[in-house]
Amino acid sequence: MLESIHVSFESLNLITLAPMLIAIFGGLIILIIDLINGKLDKTLYVMLTILILFIDFGAVIGLHTGERGFFNVMLIDGISIISQLMIIGGSMIFIPLALTSKRFHEYSYPEFFALFLFMVAGFQFMVATDNLILIFVGIETASLALYTLIALHNRANSYEAAVKYFTMGALAAGFFAMGSAVVYGLTGSIELYQISDIMATRMNEPGLTLAILGSSALLLVAFAFKLSLFPFHTWAPDVYEGASSPLAGYMSVIPKVAVFVVSMRIFDMYMNLEIEWVRNILLLLAVLTMTLANVMALVQEDVKRMLAYSSISHAGFILAALALDTTEGNTSMFLYYALFMFTNLGAFAMLWISRHKKKRFSDRYDHPYEKFAGLIQIMPIGAVIMALFMLSLAGVPPFSVFWGKIYVMQAALDSGYIWLAIVMGINSAIAAYYYLKLIVYMFLKDPVKDVDTAYYNLSKPLMAVIGLATVATVTAIFYIQPLFHYLYQMISSSGY
């Protein structure tokens, strides 16, 4: 007969689990409300979601760094706190975008909001643990919810996008599982901190090098899929195109933050073991990703696809920061995403307000460049705001993404990678062309048709979100200091 194990309640340290539980219970509450009264409006669900996320946010702020909980599976360090804050913050900006003036049917389902909250919980699990199994569970929870959210947009290409994303996601999950299995086989553990200790002792054993390299390669492929790094990026533009604009903007930031945190934890371990191969391949992937995605973005005819490729290219920048594996590099990575989040979500929100039920400008695309021709005459403020977002993405100072760029470049220089900083500079210059193309269409061309409905989908909540994004983009210079300081402290306290 098995001996019973006694677990004291205190040792579980359930407070570390509280944020995720809040999100999950919130999702369940929304489902229950729907059961009781099925005729409630989406505005109620949107506001409830924001409130739940608000509590979630508060719970994360209340966490103390350096704690473990739930059989040492949960890890609360500085990184898990700041990344959870970013995930929740980004979600809070995203969700009011459901309140468009035109009705898009996915938002009338309460399930949308419940799934959304489950997804947020999944992301939070991913970043708040160093247990490979829990990471896997987090990835799958979040991804499965996200596939459904994409498909709910209910158009032919959204189904295509969801299925494509699902297939690629499944493949990535497979690679991740195999990689973890190899790691487990090597070390007999699934906790990253134990793995790194054991692996360090076995580094010199003959015959094991291949297995260690193999495990890193498998994990690398898994994360390259998730982060849409070259050459595993091919799904991304189609998926972004099929998803609704705000969701595409969301996907270009929040899931990537979560995956970047996980890859940071895993590859940091490999790089600390002085497996230079990992660093070199990461740098190579970063350079290829930023360059080739840029080149692809140049030839796009649709603004949304352009933004999709551009966000792949930005991910390349961030991957380069990750590959440096210095505190500065890791800090700049978070700073970059924090700044990029506002600008990119703002840009996608601008696409969202111009969304029509039918494709009016082209048979193929929703947002061809022609749609924005002469926007300055139709909607001057909208055109100026969109131009600000584009300039920010191009890295024109003093707008927000510029600061992310210089921090990444500075981190590269600090680690002695001058060539990397120059490659980044050249890539920014290439990228300027396609952002400029949109500005040229908006400011320097005449409208193609006399369209009076460029701001078709505009509503007050959307204006508020775009306004917030604009303010965050323009005034970046004033909040960089506290933000950077906070991030740096949190990251250096976690030992990265």
Binding site: V396, P398, I406, Q410, L413, D414, I418, G425, L436, F484
Partner: protein
């Protein structure tokens, strides 16, 4: 007023923002009033400027991002003072003489934002703030060329933007690297240019950094062979765009050399004398030849403008007070003269909607006032004594003679070549009988045009006859700069080449 520089920088920007509210019909008057106030503010700066001091004055410093050493740091010295005044002056004059009527309100607001960036570049003493204004200046110019330009305007504006943007990104990497070295040596982050001056860098690092900054500045100047964007930009830009571009934006490049390259990398600068002089001489002679074969008046002026920028570049690398002060003076002269010439071409374009010289001939008899002013400006551009074009060019050549007599003689051909293509332009358009009937009834300058051009003529003659009030403060700062470079240089070659004049060291 201690914070006059901040007011100077942000007054046009605030006015630009408020300008959105101003009614379309009154926008022009609003813009001219704002530009006038800004000009008087810059004159105030001049009168409260202590001429006997060589260092930075009206310094303002507020930390913005202390963890990264970025601060809001402004200051002005004898070199930047007059460029700032020239910028506000040219903005005012070109705005007053502007003939565009399409979307006038957008144009005024854009110009006001452009003025902010122009003044900002010249007074910034923090590399990041400098870079910020430097990059921001591209956006309004892109819009001015792209929205009010000729048929190829979109192509020209994108080419202008991408060319300069690429160059400045390389410069940005250079700046970040300097900051990294500074951090490495002092464990403090700083982007303050005055802090960077204290760095004594090994020669090979100086060379690399010099190259990085060179790309950024040379594209802006534009040095041969990076000049190809400029003829397009001038060819397509509206008159006011060309005026501002030639008068102020190009000066950002040469000013960058004075502010960054020379004091930070003295040894590399001395080593770069010969290559840069060769490029400058090619620039002077080659673009003068190209100017000669142009059929379009505006292109002649555009290429002559590039040719004269070659003189400025040459003077910067003369490494003595005459050359450097002459070069700074020539920046001002070039700004006013080429600005005036572009405005004059604009006058005739407004009347005939063509700029081809073959369309004209005998204009002097129908437009006497126009012909006189054009003639004065043309002589000034050629560098006739007693016009503003002379002292600068003369000092540059005098200064560079100490480096290389041979190259100075080659560069001196610029005066002859300039006279040839300018007089050809004048002969073809103004003299001889009227061959084209369309020219018979052209109206001479109207009041607006006359009164915007006369101040330029006055300045050109005043500073041609008596340049001292401007040259003295320039000389003070230039001498201080050279003394600093000489002390800081590590190679003997550089120490020997840099000559500090003994006699008038000013109050420094």
């Amino acid at each position: 007023m201690e914070n006059i520089l901040s007011v100077l920088v942000f007054f046009p920007a605030v006015a630009g923002l408020l300008g959105f509210v101003v009614n379309k019909e009154s926008a022009r008057a609003y813009g001219i009033t704002v530009a006038t106030i800004e000009f008087f503010l810059s004159l105030w700066l001049w009168f409260s400027f202590d001429m006997s001091k060589a260092g930075m004055q009206f310094v303002e410093i507020t930390p913005l991002i202390p963890d990264f050493g970025i601060s809001y740091y402004l200051g002005v010295d004898g070199i930047s003072l007059f460029i700032v005044i020239m910028s506000t002056f040219m903005t005012l004059v070109s705005m007053a003489g502007m003939s565009e009527t399409k979307n006038i309100k957008n144009m005024i607001i854009t110009l006001l934002f452009l003025e902010m960036t122009m003044v900002g570049v010249f007074v910034a003493l923090d590399a990041m703030i400098f870079y910020m204004f430097w990059e921001l200046s591209l956006v309004p110019m892109l819009y001015i060329i792209g929205a009010w330009g000729g048929t190829l305007r979109v192509y020209a504006s994108i080419k202008f933007f991408l060319y300069t943007f690429t160059g400045s990104l390389i410069m940005l990497v250079g700046m970040l690297y300097v900051a990294y070295i500074y951090h490495d040596l002092t464990t403090v982050w700083s982007f303050a240019i005055t802090d960077w001056y204290a760095l004594v860098l090994p020669v090979n690092i100086q060379l690399w950094l010099f190259a990085a900054f060179f790309i950024g500045f040379a594209i802006k100047v534009p040095m041969f062979p990076f000049h190809t964007w400029l003829p397009y930009a001038h060819g397509q830009a509206p008159t006011i765009g060309s005026v501002i571009l030639a008068a102020v934006l190009l000066k950002m490049g040469t000013y960058g050399f004075v502010r960054f390259s020379l004091p930070m990398f003295p040894d590399a600068s001395v080593m770069a004398i010969t290559p840069i002089a060769v490029l400058s001489i090619i620039m002077i002679i080659y673009t003068a030849m190209v100017a000669y074969v142009q059929k379009d008046m505006k292109q002649v002026i555009a290429y002559s403008s590039v040719s004269h920028m070659g003189i400025i570049m040459l003077g910067l690398f003369a490494m003595n007070a005459e050359g450097l002060a002459g070069s700074v003076f020539q920046m001002l002269a070039h700004g006013i003269i080429s600005g005036a010439l572009f405005m004059l071409v604009g006058v005739i374009y407004d009347r005939r909607h063509t700029k081809l010289m073959s369309e004209f001939g005998g204009l002097a008899s129908v437009m006497p006032k126009y012909a006189v002013i054009f003639g004065i400006m043309l002589m000034a551009a050629v560098g006739l004594p007693l016009t503003m074009g002379f002292p600068g060019e003369f000092l540059v050549l005098l200064g560079f003679y100490k480096i290389s007599p041979m190259m100075t003689i080659l560069a001196g051909t610029s005066i002859i070549l300039g006279a040839i293509y300018m007089l050809r332009l004048y002969k073809l358009s103004f003299f001889g009988p009227i061959t084209n009937d369309a020219n018979r009834n052209l109206k001479d300058l109207n009041h607006r045009e006359t009164w915007t051009l006369i101040p330029l003529v006055l300045v050109v003659i005043w500073l041609g006859v008596y340049p001292k009030p401007v040259l003295t403060p320039i000389n003070n700062s230039v001498n201080a700069l050279l003394t600093f470079m000489k002390d800081k240089a590590i190679t003997q070659e550089a120490k020997d080449t840099i000559i500090v004049s003994k006699k008038d060291k000013g109050g420094a």
